[in-house]
Amino acid sequence: MIQAGKIFFVLTVCLLVNLLFSSFNKQDAHPVNFKMPFKQAGFTERQAAAHLIDRFTFGNSPGYLDEVIKSGLENWFLQQLEGKQNDADLNKRLSGYDALQMSNTQVLTKFPRTATIVKEAVAEGIISKDSLKENGKKEYREAVKAYMEQKGYKPQQELFRQFVSQKILSAAYSNNQLHQVLTEFWFNHFNVSISKNQCAPYIPAYERDVIRPNVAGKFGTLLLATAQSPAMLFYLDNFSSSGENSDFKQRQEKLQQRLEKKASQANDEDPSGDKAKLMEKLSTNKKNQGLNENYAREIMELHTLGVDGGYSQQDVTNAAKVLTGWTVYPMANGPASAVKKMIERFGEDNLAAKGFVHDGDFFFAINRHDNGAKTVLGKPFAAGGGYQDGLDLINLLAHHAATAKFICKKLAVKFVSDNPPASLTDKMAATFLANNGDIKEVLKTMVAAPEFWTKDAIAQKTKSPLELAISSVRALDATVNMPFLMYQWVSKMGQKLYYYQAPTGFPDKGQYWINTGALLNRMNFGLAFASQKIPGVEFNLAAINNNHEPESAIDALKTYSKIILPERDVDATIKRLTALVNDPSIQQKIDEAAGKATSNSDQNHVAMGGNQDADEIMLDQKNGRILTEDKLARKNLGKRTKAGNEMMPSAAGNNSMLAQVVGIIIGSPEFQKR
């Protein structure tokens, strides 16, 4: 009765929404009529452009605001939704990273797990089994290293180094900024974590093939793509889930009986004897069967309906049953599995005829699927539905009213404020339901709403550490030669990207990002970045001010506040700092200290190269490559310091003053907001 009521309600909402928005839909056909009501709210065009840049990009860069105005605000937004701007510059920067285009299979082949490598080396007789006991010894490590070189294998850390570097570069330099922002948003929504070894190698392809192409498409398409991805199947364990009413289970039970019978006949108590072996087989057998509800629970709680979305534990269990058999297609060099053996034995064509489904890295193993009848959220799934049942379930979840509400609220929290008004999220949810979960339409509804354009919404969101770091790069038109070091700063400020352990993803609220330790690191980041003490970061502060050098600290403060924080009210900041900057004794001391520091190249060298924090962050991943990069940074800095000091501008006094001022602006409260 309740369920029927719910369905009726959904239908009614859909109908109403269609009626209400039919005129709006007409406008969609003519993008010219798509309007943002910023003037009505008292925004000037420049203020409105600055607000859009704050919300839908990783930050303004010199001249960008003018470009946005030139293309027209509405037009700019529509272009950003499309995400088809030329990204040749970014692609050039990414061209040196050879792992970024690899398929999952290629990744596993090129970056196998250490355990896989060792096993292979033992099988080939390169490493003797006995030497495994010498695991910690230098000779052993060198033997493994030599074997890897001979085979062309690389350590997995290299894969992740390339992957996180890609993140920094894409966010900073893509012309499709909104798609980059949405990529981060959806990845975090459908979070998977490198900290779980089993799913780690599939994560680069997950972001590239599952998230990126779908960030501004239909929500249902995105949801299904995540559901069938190896990263998610491993992260939330659905790959191993099998049903009670399945062939697999029956087979396992027979095996179980046989093993138990044998075990009861064997009566030796020797722990390394036959009986123990049988008991172990039994335990492995038990482990290989059974329902795993983890994914079914999180797809409802975190990915679609939300925790208050009106589902019961029974719905979770039944959804898990519907999704039994959804697993990963065995890959070359991937872990051995029962599925692999089965495919080898029966052949794919025979399996397809029986209802098995192979689609890329996804595999539906009908023999593990629960064939019984189930009901989820009031929708009956008749017995024997197979693969189609899973598709229907995901479709049901993707278009549910609770999902519309939950997703639209999350988008509004991301783009409007930590507590968006219900009047706004209601409009967005209505669009979501009326347009088959079209993310573009939802975002258009959002920016066309007066709630988006309230003056007190300006700079109401706290930047995440990634947003802070990338907006700094963009604000100064900086070149980032060693993006991994930027990644380490982002981690240090509290956002170790791709390693967040829980499926919730990072919380999207100011209070999470701002605590005493993190805030200090933000200020320190500002200072280190502006004085180009993050190895590989280069920029020319004079260039972004038309090669005009400010005449005094106050002049620098005024000029660069306006460049870095366009259209923000920076008068208070300037006023507060004026007294401090004018204190001659302090200014003199800074100049003296900076002069000393630059003239003494050795001292500088040590101070900059000793990247202790960076080392600590990667402590768990001792890896030649990273250390090499660090060493490289040291070496380069040494060279630069000697060769006329490109990175530290020559007129130490004045320029270090300018760097200092810019560092303070980046570390200031105003720049922490967007």
């Binding site: 089994k129 008991m279 509290g494 499926p503 101070a607 900059m608 560092g663 303070i664």
Partner: protein, 420 residues
């Protein structure tokens, strides 16, 4: 509430007092003269050490009279009998023996301050490090989506405000146990808690002054409140020479990550900065290969663990009544040794709980003879003590937290008996 305000007022005296690597005289005057009196009531402190990688509890605390264990571990089994070659186990009670490298624990055990909870583990039988750690740290062994960690919930349940140093993890990133709405901090090195600019300390000083002014005046309350606290926290730390910390006489911390973490925790305790929950990690427990016996990887690990903890305990001697230290690990290891001189992923392990209010001096838990019938899945030491029955008991008794429904939802077990 009042304590928080008091903290802010007390420390909120002076702008101008931030120094880096030695406070310059012209900036330090104000701060130096400002003697900090304790602005809040003294609190109990819980130090939690997570042993990542799954410690072999059967080697740390061995039921040495068990013939099944001896048979299952032909080269890994050690005995307590003094006559045997090499070092022998430290006989605790005629049945259990401490690993010979854990000598530092013996006196604490005999003094009845150290309890050992054996057969400790999670009801979820996953043998994945990631999943088991995740479940143990979230405190919900059957639910992945729990957003918060159990220590974060514990902080919320204390019922009073704290300082920025209330919950500190000596790690580079926030541990899962600390996830959640209550303010916590991850810092790998206390010395980093300052405004810094490498190669230009004077510039950092001037910048610090500017930042303090800007955050003090900003209208965004989150930023101004946290900004104030950050600078107050820096000042608190500057009351002592963080860099050249000298432990109590005769105390030597192992030069290991854990030793270093515990040293910093001791520092914070002595500085009286308001620490209530501290988190540290110990690694290297995943001993699939060449685990060793009286020497080797495992021996080094337990030596580091016990020596670090014993050094810490001695270092904070005057405050021992206020402190309880507890270890945990995600699961134990197979009863049987494997083909490469190590042990594989198992089920139960053991936990160490140290404090003056601990029911110490005995090996707690229900350890049956390790015959196949008594083993979990026919291979592992069975979990007879749910980790939550230990964690909750320590939190109840030591931190005076009473709402176990919030601390560990979906659980209603009893006490493990580790506290007096």
């Amino acid at each position: 509430m009042s304590s928080r305000k008091a903290f802010l007022q007390k420390a909120g005296l002076a702008l101008f007092s931030i120094g880096v690597g030695g406070v310059p005289a012209f900036l330090a005057t104000a701060a130096g003269s400002d003697k900090i009196t304790r602005p809040y009531k003294k609190k109990k402190i819980l130090v939690f050490i997570f042993q990542r990688g799954a410690m072999d509890g059967l080697m740390a605390v061995t039921p040495f009279t068990d013939s099944f264990l001896k048979a299952a571990r032909p080269t890994l089994f050690m005995d307590a009998a003094k006559a045997s070659a090499g070092k022998s186990l430290i006989d605790l009670d005629g049945r259990f023996g401490l690993h010979p490298s854990m000598g530092a624990f013996e006196s604490l055990f005999r003094e009845k301050r150290l309890a050992i909870a054996h057969g400790m583990g999670s009801p979820n039988n996953t043998r994945s490090h990631f999943d088991a750690q995740d479940y143990m740290e979230s405190g919900t062994p059957f639910s992945k989506g729990t957003a918060s960690g159990w220590l974060n919930r514990a902080i919320g349940l204390m019922g009073h405000d704290g300082t920025p140093f209330r919950a500190v993890s000596i790690t580079a990133a926030l541990p899962r146990s600390f996830y959640g709405d209550n303010e916590t901090m991850a810092i790998s090195n206390l010395q980093d808690f300052a405004i810094q600019l490498k190669g230009n300390p004077m510039g950092a000083n001037a910048a610090a002054k500017s930042f303090e002014e800007l955050y003090d005046q900003t209208t965004t309350s989150l930023l101004s409140k946290t900004g104030k606290e950050s600078f107050e926290a820096i000042k608190m730390l500057q009351k002592t020479d963080v860099k050249n910390y000298r432990p109590a006489t005769g105390v030597i911390y192992p030069a290991s990550p854990l030793g270093n973490s515990l040293k910093q925790i001791a520092q914070m305790i002595k500085m009286d900065v308001g620490l209530e929950v501290a988190f540290a990690e110990s690694g290297g427990w995943d001993t699939h290969f060449n685990q060793g016996t009286e020497n080797g990887i495992f021996a080094r690990n337990v030596a580091d663990l016990s020596n670090s903890i014993a050094a810490f305990w001695k270092d904070i001697e005057p405050m021992q009544d206020d402190i309880t230290l507890m270890t945990s690990t995600e699961f134990g290891r197979t009863v049987k040794q494997n083909g490469t001189g190590g042990t594989d992923h198992g089920r139960a392990s053991c936990a160490f709980i140290l404090g003056n209010d601990v029911n110490g001096g005995s090996v707690l838990g229900d350890i049956k003879p390790l015959s196949i019938e008594n083993l979990a899945d026919g291979r592992d030491l069975a979990v007879t003590t749910d980790f939550r029955s230990i964690f909750s008991e320590v939190a109840n008794a030591h931190l005076h937290i009473n709402d176990n429904k919030i601390l560990f939802p979906e659980w209603s077990g009893g006490k493990a008996g580790v506290m007096k």
